[in-house]
Symmetry: C2
Subunit: 458 residues, 2 copies
Amino acid sequence: MRRATSLLLFLSVVLIASPSAQGPPAWLDPYRENADKLIKAATADRFAWDRVAELTDTYGQRISGSDNLNRAIAWAVETMKKDGLENVHTERVMVPKWVRGAESLEITNPPHHVVPLLGLGGSVATPPAGIEAEVMVVASGDALTRRAAEAKGKIVLFNVPYTNYGETVAYRSGGARMAAQYGAVAALVRAVGPVGLRTPHTGGMNYGDDTVGKIPTAAIPVEDSLRIQRLTNRGIKVRLRLKMEAHFDADVESFNVVGEIRGSEKPEEIVLVGGHFDSWDTGAGASDDGVGCVVTWEAARLMKTLNIRPKRTVRVVLFTNEENGTRGGNGYRDQHANEAANHVMAFESDSGVFAPARLGFSGSDAARRIIAEISTLLTPLGLQDVGTGGGGADIGPIATLGKVPMMAYSGDATKYFTIHHTPADTVDRIEPAEVSKAAAAIAAMIYVVADMPQGLPK
Amino acid sequence: MRRATSLLLFLSVVLIASPSAQGPPAWLDPYRENADKLIKAATADRFAWDRVAELTDTYGQRISGSDNLNRAIAWAVETMKKDGLENVHTERVMVPKWVRGAESLEITNPPHHVVPLLGLGGSVATPPAGIEAEVMVVASGDALTRRAAEAKGKIVLFNVPYTNYGETVAYRSGGARMAAQYGAVAALVRAVGPVGLRTPHTGGMNYGDDTVGKIPTAAIPVEDSLRIQRLTNRGIKVRLRLKMEAHFDADVESFNVVGEIRGSEKPEEIVLVGGHFDSWDTGAGASDDGVGCVVTWEAARLMKTLNIRPKRTVRVVLFTNEENGTRGGNGYRDQHANEAANHVMAFESDSGVFAPARLGFSGSDAARRIIAEISTLLTPLGLQDVGTGGGGADIGPIATLGKVPMMAYSGDATKYFTIHHTPADTVDRIEPAEVSKAAAAIAAMIYVVADMPQGLPK
């Protein structure tokens, strides 16, 4: 290799890796006008926020198997058709139907104090009279292991400080099983999130292979967890009474909602974009994930409105049952296995749109360089640089099968996890401008990926 | 009057009015050492916070007539005695016993959505089957008056933006009566406080002279109030079903708790200091007003610990039934009417201790100048200048009768009203250093007022 060629190669790598420092590459020029149009249209008004509000105000929480979710799905189909999306239809999957029922928690010694709680999704019920037992407070799984002999017959409380979701959620998911193996009769977890206003956070749990028996499990607010810890520290034998009616009914049918902008030249190649339409049964499923559905749906709606039809098909999917089963994402994979390899990219928004936000990408370095180049078109939106962490629970199955590059839109994690899986997940907490910004970024990015001459490298 | 005298008078006024600018006056010198000792002792540890935690962890909410309040009163008597306070005793008053019972609110159209609520203290119940009716949303009392003809048979929702407590609380107190006069069947108010995390705020209401009949009334979170407003704006006839079991049982006995440091020279002259020991039935009554009881009680405890006995009597009173009756404050006035004029000053802490905090004073200008001078001893604590707004619901009756100057300790109002009358009024939200600071300021101030040669001018 000659020195001059080597230098040229070096320079071209630098230019590709740092597009914003050097100005965007020329191949993007034909896309600039439409990308600008999409961004301008998305940010001209609060259409997207209004749609999130309409969805969450009218249908509220949308747990799998609920009438609310069924009604919301019917609305989405109708509304996609009104938007002019193409090939609008539903795709049936069977989903679990977990029902919370009545639930209560009380400190019976010292007498008598109501403790707010949210049973964890998937938990079994207590006997109708409830379970009353002394509490054993531990700050970690290791602490439980060390004091395992004390756990028999107790209600174990995992008073684990929140660090980040990834670390702390292990106690929500697995705490019941950890406690049951030592003979505990129930498991409580300190809410997985920053301190709120006496705010419990629900979420999924699983009993694993269930060799140790199933015990009921619920989340309590940070404040109550600390209170029980302090009482225990003072030498008081704190007793609790837990009542839960939680149970599964038989699986019921649900539906992914699909709408498209069919590609003008390569309609069989698909850019998949979406969020999940179900939610937990507490708040209104606004940030998790009504807003994710709307901002990805907006990509297609805006293209239709502006009469922009890319070469490849843009397919919006509002997935069902992300929260407690991923049956929507798995069902999509199974029903679209024959075209899995035709998916050029899959994009999911399921982390809110709280500022500061950014795009994330997971895929080959070659594809990442192209995504970074395209992101120069988004400069007016003031997002952070494209980072890692593309993907989502719903697009994961098809992406794994088809080796599909993935993207995500991620908002500020602290704001998101403050309201995550709580009654406070409502549209009020979301800024209209941030919804517009997310829709703009996603629309412009999806448009270029769906229209550019070369496919995104796998 | 000669010019020189006039100038001297002018200068002395300036000096008295701005003591911190000119250094503290000499008459305070004998008090400096003890004031410093009190401040050092109060801020050396987190004793006061720990006591608030012990009170609120063990006894929780303490609504008038509850077992919790009765148990907490017994604990306070015992603990004051252990502290070495003198003349520790209770003073009996009869208090109302309002019982919330079960309550629920649901949006039935569009179907079906749970709305968090807190019935307002004093409200009547709905019929057992509840009240189902269309909602009428108004943004003010004037708007209700203009649309009065529409109110008949409706549930009126006062969707009034929170500005400050004083302005907005009128809808909580009087909304039911305002709506009932036009034939409404129930009244809901948007929670009186800054936006929380789907957080309703309870609080007292009254039916006035009850010429229009009593209708049930409750507070709902800001988010739900806005949701119902938006649904209505979209032309949807929103229907609600409200169920409340709220009622009064017969009055029961309760007690003010009294403890003293008897004066060494003028024991019949009294500096009264305290907070209210009851709370609403939602949170743990930490900022409202466990902390106010503890930081005022600390004044006497610290004097005892440091063997500081002022000339006048320092009397700590933990008043009962501030929240829904003021029977404690009225009872104190009635039982101490003969010594009302002997009260040199009355000090109440009932606004939390959230930074930035300050002392407030209500009384004559002459007395205010002395209080401002004494406050120079508190400089190390970094409080804001002494302001207006001395007083409190519990000390008001005796102060009115005896023409007694009043003081208050006031914390940041936004932080206070975020958790005021909500489940989130717990000790977790209070900084230990702020509790110590309040105790230090109150102890030093009370000490000087109780010990200074001249009585505080009335």
